[in-house]
C-alpha cells in the first residue's frame, strides 16, 4: 500500500503537502502593495498619538508644562505620568519581572524615554504639539558602561531602593539586577586547575537592534457603548497582549480583542509591551475615539527593544590533543534602564546555557549578571531563540581561540569535540537534553563541498604572497557549527508572565471539503499561511490550496503564545499535526460507516480512506467531509472539527555547518565575501523554498550584525546611530550569493519531525562572518577582536598588527 504508484504520486502532489516548494500564498498581496498593516488602518474619528521623548540619558524631570501644546488647534490631550498614576498605569510590568515607566515618573533613565503622550486630530498636529510641550530637566550623571555602573554610587533605579532581592534572586548592588548561575562551578574550576591547556578570552557582543522594516505601532479603539476594547497592533504574541491588557486595565478579557494584522517583520522587536500601547489604550478610553500610535524609525532604533549587549569572558580547558574538558563563562549583561528582556520567566538570561554549543563538554559553569545602565531597555532575541546568538558566538569564538592556542586547525578541533550521533538524546553539562543530531555528517559534507583543504592551501599561499609584498589582501576562512535551541517550550519550565508556552491549532473542515485552520501564532513574514496548510494537507488529505490559515485575531484564534524563538513550527506546527490527526480519526469512522466496514478495515491513503486490500473501494476526504454534514451517522456528532493544544515534551535542536570565504583589503579595511556556504539541518523540511528564503534572510541579518550594525552610545548616553544612514541595513548590493544545503535529522519528539529554521542562519551566520574576518589575521598573531567588523575596525586590527608598514 505504501509504494508510490504514479497514480498515488499524482494524488500526493496535488495536495502540495510536506516537502513541496509551494509558492507563498501571502506574496500576491505583499508584492502588489495590498498588505494590510497597522498604519494602513483608518477609522472614523481616529486620533493620533506621539511622544515627547527625553533628550537626556539620565535626568530628573522637574516639570512638564502642557499649556502651549494644549492651546494648539487640534490637540485633544497631553498625558503625563501624573495623569496615568490614578489608573496605576504610569508604570507597567515587564516580561522579565521588572517594571518600567510608561511615562517618566520623576526621572528619565535613557535617551528617547517617553515623557508625555500627545493626542491630536492628525499626525502633523501631534508632531507640532510635541515640540510645544516644555519639559524642564535636571541632568544627572550618566552610566553607559555596566562595569562602571556596578561600582557607581549613582542609583539608577530609585524606585528599587533598599530592595536587595529581585525577581531572579539577590541583588549585589543598587544597579545590579540578578545573577543567574548554571552548571557546577566547583567542578569546572577543578578542571581548569588541572587541565593541560586553559585559554581565557573576553569578548563584547555589541548592542544592536532588530530594526524590522515596519516599526512598532497600534490602534486602540474603546467602544464605550458595548464596553469592548479592540487593539490592532504589531504584536508577535497577540494573546499574551490581551491577557496583559486585561490584567493592567481591569477590563475583562472577553471584552478585549487583540488583532495582529499583517506584520512587516518582527525579529523579536515586537514581542515586548511598549508604553505606546498603554498610552493609546488610555487615550482611547479617555476620549472614546480610536487612537493610533506608530513610532518612526529613530524612535524604533532608540527606544523599542534592542538586542545583545553582552560582555562575555570565557575559559576553556582542553587536553594537549584538543579534547575539551571544561568551559567557564561569565557574562555581564547590559539591560539598560529597565529589565525588559523578553525571555521565558525562569530564564533571565534566556537559553544562554546552550553555550556549550555542539560539543561534548563534560563540565561547565555559566554566570550572568544583569546590570542597569542609562540605555534603552530591551534585550530581545533578534532573529534567534532567547540569547542563543550570544551563546553560539561565544562558543564558536572560544573554539577558534583554543585552536590558536593549540596551533590546531579549528575544523579538526570541532570534529574531535562534536557530540557523536549515538550520544543523542544528549544531556548537556548546563542542563539541556539535545533531541537529535548528526554533526559529523553535516560537517564533513560542508568541508568537502567547499574544498576546505584547498582553501587552506590557497590561504597559506596568500599569506606568503602578502609577506613578500605581492598583495595587500588577506583571505579569511570563517567556520561555524551551531546548535540552536528552539520551540519554547515545555509548560513545566517555560512560561511568559505565567502563561505556559504551549501553542494551538483549531481546524474546521467545510462540507465541500475545504478547510480553515486557526493557530495561536502570528506570521511576520515567515509564510505561515503557506507552510501550516502544507502540514495539514499531508495530515488530512485536503489540498493545501483548499486550506485557509488564520492567525492573530484573539476573538477567533485559539490561545497561543505567538511567534518568536523559532517556536511556530515546533509548537504550533505540532499542534496543527495533532489537530489534523484528530480530524483523521473521526474521518476514519465516517469512512468506515460509508464503506460499510469496520473502522479497523479502512486505512488512510494520501487523500482518502480505502478498504484494506481493496483499493478500488474508497471514500475521499471530500466525500467524508460532505457526509459529516449531511448524514446521520450512528454514534457520531455531525461536523468535522478539531482543536489541539500542544505542550511540547522538549525543545528542538536544529543545527548547521557554515563556511565563509572572505578577502580583506588590509589598507582600507573593506571585506569582500567571496563565498558563503550554509548547510542547515532543521529536521523534516516542510517547504524547501521557504526554508531557503529564511536562510537567506537570516544570513543577511547575520552579515549586518557581524560587519557593522550596532546601536552605540557616547559617554553622555546619546545614541550615535539612530538613522538608517548609520545603522547598517544591508541591501542586495552588500549581500553575497548564498549557497544553501541541508541534511535531515528529524526531531524524534515532534509529530512530523520538524525543528524550526527561521533563526538558525542568524545564529550560525554571525560567528561565521566574524570568524572569517578574524581568521584572515590569524597568521599575523590576532587572537580575538570584537565585532562589528566595519571598515575602520578591520583597518584598526591590521594597524595594531603592524600591517600598514
Amino acid at each position: 500500500m505504501n509504494d508510490l504508484t504514479p497514480e498515488r504520486e499524482e494524488r500526493s502532489a496535488n495536495l502540495k503537502g510536506l516537502g513541496c516548494s509551494r509558492k507563498r500564498v501571502e506574496d500576491a498581496r505583499f508584492t502588489q502593495g495590498k498588505g494590510n498593516y497597522v498604519d494602513d488602518l483608518k477609522m472614523p474619528g481616529m486620533l493620533h498619538g506621539d511622544f515627547v521623548r527625553s533628550p537626556y540619558a539620565h535626568a530628573r524631570v522637574v516639570s512638564v508644562n502642557k499649556d502651549a501644546a494644549l492651546a494648539l488647534d487640534g490637540v485633544v490631550a497631553v498625558l503625563t505620568a501624573e495623569d496615568l498614576a490614578p489608573l496605576n498605569l504610569h508604570w507597567m510590568p515587564t516580561l522579565a519581572g521588572d517594571k518600567q515607566m510608561v511615562l517618566a515618573d520623576g526621572k528619565v533613565l535613557f535617551q528617547g524615554q517617553e515623557v508625555a503622550f500627545v493626542v491630536a486630530r492628525d499626525r502633523y498636529v501631534a508632531a507640532d504639539a510635541v515640540e510645544l510641550v516644555e519639559v524642564e530637566y535636571e541632568e544627572l550623571p550618566v552610566l553607559t558602561d555596566p562595569f562602571e555602573s556596578l561600582k557607581s554610587d549613582v542609583v539608577l533605579r530609585e524606585d528599587l531602593a533598599g530592595q536587595t532581592t529581585g525577581p531572579h534572586g539577590p541583588r549585589k548592588h543598587h544597579n545590579h539586577i540578578f545573577t543567574w548561575e548554571q552548571g557546577d562551578e566547583t567542578a569546572t574550576n577543578q578542571v581548569m586547575d588541572s587541565a593541560d591547556v586553559v585559554v581565557e578570552e573576553s569578548m563584547y557582543y555589541h548592542r544592536t537592534h532588530p530594526c524590522p522594516l515596519e516599526t512598532c505601532g497600534c490602534v486602540a479603539s474603546m467602544d464605550k457603548v458595548n464596553g469592548k476594547l479592540t487593539l490592532w497592533g504589531t504584536f508577535q504574541a497577540p494573546h499574551v497582549v490581551r491577557t496583559v491588557a486585561s490584567m493592567l486595565s481591569g477590563i475583562e478579557e472577553h471584552n478585549i480583542r487583540v488583532i495582529s494584522p499583517d506584520i512587516g517583520g518582527g525579529f523579536g522587536n515586537k514581542v515586548g509591551v511598549y508604553p505606546g500601547y498603554i498610552c493609546s489604550i488610555v487615550a482611547s478610553i479617555v476620549t472614546g475615539q480610536p487612537v493610533k500610535w506608530v513610532e518612526d524609525r529613530m524612535e524604533n532604533l532608540m527606544a523599542t527593544a534592542f538586542a545583545r549587549d553582552y560582555w562575555m569572558t570565557g575559559k576553556i580547558a582542553a587536553t594537549k590533543e584538543g579534547k575539551i574538558t571544561g568551559l567557564h563563562c561569565q557574562v555581564t549583561a547590559d539591560h539598560g534602564g529597565f529589565d525588559a528582556c523578553a525571555d521565558p520567566t525562569k530564564f533571565p538570561a534566556g537559553f544562554m546555557n546552550i553555550c556549550t554549543g555542539s560539543y561534548d563538554i563534560p563540565v561547565a559553569y555559566l554566570a550572568v549578571d544583569g546590570v542597569y545602565t542609562n540605555k534603552a531597555p530591551g534585550g530581545v532575541s533578534y532573529r534567534c531563540s532567547f540569547r542563543v546568538t550570544e551563546a553560539v558566538y561565544f562558543i564558536e569564538r572560544m573554539i577558534e581561540v583554543l585552536a590558536i592556542e593549540l596551533d590546531m586547525d579549528s575544523a579538526e578541533l570541532r570534529r574531535i569535540n562534536f557530540i557523536r550521533k549515538e550520544q543523542f538524546p544528549y544531556q548537556s553539562a548546563l542542563g539541556w537534553e539535545y533531541d537529535s543530531g548528526d554533526y559529523h555528517t553535516a560537517w564533513d559534507k560542508a568541508l568537502k563541498t567547499v574544498d576546505y583543504d584547498g582553501l587552506r592551501k590557497e590561504q597559506a599561499e596568500r599569506v606568503a604572497a602578502f609577506k613578500r609584498g605581492e598583495t595587500r589582501t588577506l583571505m579569511g576562512i570563517g567556520l561555524s557549527f551551531f546548535t540552536e535551541i528552539v520551540g519554547a517550550g515545555p509548560v513545566k519550565n517555560c512560561d511568559i508572565l505565567g502563561m505556559g508556552m504551549f501553542d494551538s491549532c483549531e481546524i474546521r473542515i467545510h462540507p465541500t471539503g475545504s478547510a480553515i485552520a486557526r493557530l495561536g501564532t502570528i506570521s511576520q513574514g515567515q509564510g505561515h499561511a503557506t507552510t501550516f496548510a502544507q502540514i495539514l494537507a499531508s495530515e488530512i488529505g485536503i489540498p493545501a490550496d483548499s486550506i485557509t490559515i488564520e492567525e492573530g485575531d484573539t476573538d477567533t484564534a485559539p490561545y497561543g503564545l505567538g511567534t518568536y524563538g523559532s517556536r511556530s513550527t515546533p509548537v504550533a506546527g505540532a499542534a496543527a499535526a495533532m489537530a489534523g490527526r484528530k480530524i483523521r480519526a473521526k474521518a476514519q469512522m465516517i469512512a468506515a460507516y460509508l464503506l460499510e466496514v469496520h473502522d479497523d478495515d479502512v486505512e488512510f491513503d494520501v487523500d482518502r480512506f480505502v478498504v484494506k486490500g481493496v483499493p478500488e473501494r474508497f471514500k475521499t476526504m471530500k466525500d467524508i467531509a460532505y457526509a459529516a454534514y449531511n448524514q446521520a451517522i450512528p454514534g457520531l456528532e455531525p461536523g468535522l472539527e478539531a482543536v489541539s493544544y500542544y505542550d511540547p515534551p522538549n525543545m528542538t535542536y536544529p543545527f548547521g555547518a557554515y563556511v565563509c570565504v572572505m578577502d580583506i583589503d588590509v589598507d582600507t579595511g573593506v571585506p569582500d565575501i567571496r563565498r558563503f556556504y550554509a548547510l542547515d539541518d532543521c529536521g523534516t523540511r516542510i517547504n524547501p523554498m521557504i526554508i531557503e528564503g529564511q536562510v537567506h534572510g537570516g544570513l543577511t541579518e547575520a552579515l549586518a550584525v557581524a560587519l557593522g550594525q550596532e546601536i552605540a552610545y557616547d559617554k553622555m548616553g546619546n545614541v550615535k546611530n539612530a538613522t538608517l544612514m548609520d545603522f547598517f541595513l544591508p541591501t542586495a548590493w552588500e549581500v553575497p550569493n548564498f549557497e544553501t544545503d541541508h541534511t535531515v535529522t528529524p526531531s524524534p519528539h515532534h509529530p512530523i519531525g520538524a525543528k524550526g529554521v527561521g533563526e538558525s542562519p542568524h545564529v550560525g551566520g554571525v560567528p561565521c562572518f566574524s570568524n572569517a574576518v578574524q581568521d584572515a589575521f590569524r597568521a599575523f598573531g590576532l587572537r580575538h577582536t570584537n565585532m562589528p567588523h566595519d571598515h575602520w575596525r578591520i583597518w584598526q586590527t591590521a594597524n595594531d598588527l603592524g600591517l600598514h608598514e
Binding site: D50, R123, Y124, A126, A127, D128, E131, D296, R297, M298, D667, T668, G669, V670, G708, A712, K720, N721, M725, D726, F728, P730, T731, W733, E734, D790, H791, W792, W795, Q796, N799, H804
Partner: protein, 284 residues
C-alpha cells in the same frame, strides 16, 4: 519624522522664483530633488515655511555640449548624468561619479544644482566640480554672476550663494586625458569615507597637467594644488604618488564620526587617492 507645516509653490520660471524669494526672505527656500532638503525638514533641522519647487522650470534643465564647453542645468538629475551619451563621451568622470552617489531611486530625484548648492561636505559633486574647475552661474535680484567652484564653498552648508540667489547651471571645459572618481563608502546610499576626483593629461609619457579634489575629508571639498603639482612631470611612479598623497594630507582635515577615527580616514584618503591617480594615469 514629520515636517512642520509649509506653503508650497511651483513657479514656471526663474523670475517667479526670485519674486517669491524676495517676498519671503529667510522663510523661503527652493527645492530641487528634495533628497537633502526634505530629510532635513522631516528631522525639523530645517524649517521652511515657504517651499519653492523648481521642478517646472524648463530653463534650469538640459545638458549642452557647445564646442569645448559643457553646461549642465541646475535641475539635471544624477540619473540624467549617467544616461546622457554625449556627456558620457565628453566627460566620462561625471558618469563615474554619479554612479557612486546613493542608489537609483535617489539619483532619479537628486540634482546637480541641489548637490552643489547644499554645501554638504559629504556630497560628491562639489569635489568633482572643483577638479573640473567648473564655473557656477548664480542669478539674483541684481542679475547673474559666475563663481568658480574652487571659490564657492565656505564651510559646511555655507556657500558663496546669497539666500536670494538661485543656482542656474555649472559649466566647464571638456576635460582632457585620463580620469577617475574613487570612493570608499560603508554601504550603498552612504556618503564617502573618503573620495578622490582626478583628471590627468599625459604628454610624452609624463604628466602634463593634473587636477585633484577630495570629498568628505574637511568641512568643504578640498582641491589640492599641491597634490596635482607633485604629479606634474612625473610618470606617476611610486615616489610621485607618495608625494601627491603627502601634499593632499596636508590639505585635508577630517573629523571623527561613525565612519571612523581621523587616523583611519587619513590613511584611507591616501589609499583612495593613490588608486584614483593610478586609474586616471592608466586611462590618460
Amino acid at each position: 519624522m514629520i515636517p512642520a507645516a509649509f506653503d508650497y509653490y511651483r513657479p514656471k520660471d526663474v523670475e517667479g522664483v526670485l519674486a517669491l524669494l524676495q517676498e519671503h526672505g529667510d522663510d523661503a527656500r527652493v527645492m530641487a530633488g528634495g533628497h537633502s532638503l526634505i530629510p532635513m525638514m522631516k528631522f525639523r533641522m530645517a524649517e521652511v515655511p515657504h517651499l519653492i519647487d523648481l521642478q517646472d522650470i524648463a530653463a534650469l534643465r538640459g545638458i549642452t555640449i557647445d564646442g569645448d564647453t559643457i553646461t549642465i542645468g541646475a535641475m539635471v538629475s544624477q540619473h540624467e548624468l549617467i544616461n546622457h551619451d554625449g556627456l558620457s563621451a565628453a566627460a566620462p568622470i561625471l558618469r563615474e561619479t554619479a554612479l557612486q552617489i546613493a542608489d537609483p531611486q535617489v539619483r532619479y530625484m537628486g540634482t546637480v544644482g541641489g548637490n552643489i548648492a547644499n554645501g554638504d561636505p559629504g556630497n560628491d559633486m562639489p569635489g568633482l566640480m572643483q577638479c573640473l574647475d567648473a564655473q557656477i552661474e548664480l542669478l539674483g535680484p541684481e542679475g547673474s554672476r559666475v563663481v568658480a567652484a574652487r571659490d564657492y564653498f565656505e564651510a559646511a552648508y555655507m556657500t558663496d550663494r546669497e539666500d536670494d540667489e538661485i543656482l542656474i547651471s555649472v559649466s566647464f571645459a571638456v576635460p582632457a586625458g585620463g580620469y577617475a572618481y574613487e570612493k570608499q563608502k560603508r554601504k550603498i546610499g552612504d556618503y564617502a569615507t573618503a573620495a578622490a576626483a582626478v583628471q590627468i593629461t599625459k604628454v610624452g609619457g609624463k604628466v602634463a597637467t593634473a587636477s585633484i579634489a577630495m570629498t568628505n575629508l574637511s568641512d568643504v571639498p578640498v582641491w589640492s594644488l599641491g597634490a596635482a603639482d607633485a604629479l606634474v612631470g612625473t610618470a606617476c611612479e611610486a615616489g610621485a604618488l607618495k608625494a601627491a598623497v603627502a601634499a593632499m594630507l596636508g590639505d585635508i582635515d577630517p573629523t571623527e564620526d561613525n565612519r571612523g577615527p581621523v587616523a583611519f580616514k587619513r590613511h584611507v584618503a591616501g589609499i583612495i587617492l593613490t588608486r584614483a591617480i593610478t586609474r586616471a594615469w592608466d586611462r590618460a
